[in-house]
Amino acid sequence: MVTRIGTAGVVLVFAAGLWLVAAPFALGYQRAGAGWTGATRTDVIAGGLLAAAGFAGIFAVIAGRVSELYANPRSAASLPAPGTGRADGRNTGS
């Protein structure tokens, strides 16, 4: 459960970064064809950094989980079997 919350947080950070990049254009305080204002530059730079970090974080979380499953097949057994959608409860939630 806790891990799911953490993963959701990483995804939300990525989404917030995307929102920050798109917000000046979506809300209209950056006119098309005009030079970028200070707010737009701040939003785009901060949003880009956050989106990149969130994207990397999502991949790192998935890669870490997969490598743990490869390293410890016993915990893989606690995953729900395909089709049943039910785990045997041995997963510690990490």
Binding site: I5, G6, W19, A23, L27, A39, L49, S94
Partner: protein, 310 residues
């Protein structure tokens, strides 16, 4: 570990980004003012909250994982001073009680040793008629009984390991008979290693009775068996009797003659035996050496034949 670390890194970056957005919106007057300032403030605040929750979640998950892997120890519940004092008092009471019990056991052991000094010192005269003279010095271990003339195999056949008298049962390193007195293990080496306090008199007598009942028939059978006749002794200077081992060959007439001459005086010295043998076969007439040689030839023929190999 990678995902926890990366999750924490992303959460940290989110906190920094959110903080920067808030600072930019508040401290710099929202840059251009209008919607941009409000959007940055709202986004920054939400981002900081999300990043904070994410960081806490990843930290908790990592701690759980480390605890499950045994890296972190179990958390002890904090105990109040009153509870700690109570626990200390109980512990002191338990220690005193254990010390008192140990003293009582030692006193009883000393009293028992004083009451049965002969058993404690290993002078078991009652077993002398069983031929177990080595009990006092060697104990009843496997080596001790082997010294008394009874091998370990006989004891195993008699079922003594089951009764706990074999192995390290009453052996001398741990036994109480052999002078060690460090412990008593009536049921084998496992308990012997732990060294129990000491046997009661009843246990000792039961063990000795069992031993007597098991060994008496063996010793009686050994005594009833007739002793083998003593081997003839050779006088100093006397030649050792030779065993004929040469094969007879058709051309070796001289060797056969020598052997016949050696056998002839023996036949002449015993005329009564000659009378008893009315019509002996040819090999016996020639003497024992001749018979041996003939038998050897037959054996060799048998060994060479194909049937011997099958």
């Amino acid at each position: 570990m990678t995902r926890y670390l990366s999750g924490l890194c992303v959460a940290g970056l989110g906190l920094c980004g959110g903080g920067w957005l808030v600072v930019a919106a508040v401290a710099f007057g929202g840059m251009d003012g209008g919607d941009a300032g409000r959007v940055n403030l709202a986004t920054g605040t939400v981002l900081m909250v999300i990043a904070g929750v994410t960081a806490v979640a990843w930290a908790v998950a990592w701690r759980r994982r480390m605890r499950a892997d045994g890296v972190l120890g179990e958390r002890f519940a904090t105990v109040s001073r009153r509870q700690a004092r109570r626990n200390r008092r109980e512990l002191t009471r338990d220690v005193r009680r254990a010390a008192r019990s140990a003293k009582r056991s030692a006193r009883e052991a000393r009293r028992r040793a004083r009451r049965f000094p002969r058993l404690a010192d290993g002078e078991l005269g009652g077993l002398g008629d069983l031929g177990l003279g080595g009990l006092g010095g060697e104990g009843l271990g496997s080596a001790g009984l082997a010294g008394g003339g009874l091998g370990g195999g006989m004891l195993a056949d008699a079922g003594l390991p089951g009764s706990g008298l074999s192995g390290g049962g009453l052996g001398e390193p741990r036994g109480w008979i052999g002078g060690g007195r460090t412990g008593y293990a009536p049921h084998g080496p496992v308990r012997a290693g732990h060294g129990q306090g000491g046997p009661s008199t009843t246990e000792l007598l039961v063990e000795l009775r069992t031993l007597r009942a098991l060994l008496t028939p063996l010793l009686e059978a050994a005594a009833a068996e007739p002793a083998s006749p003593p081997l003839p002794r050779r006088q100093p200077g006397q030649e050792r009797p030779r065993i004929p081992c040469r094969r007879t060959e058709p051309g070796d007439e001289a060797a056969q003659a020598d052997l016949a001459e050696q056998a002839a005086p023996a036949d002449e010295a015993d005329p009564a035996q000659q009378g008893a043998q009315a019509d002996p076969p040819a090999s016996e007439v020639a003497g024992p050496a001749e018979g041996l040689i003939a038998g050897e030839g037959e054996l060799l023929r048998l060994a060479d034949s194909e049937e011997a190999w099958w």
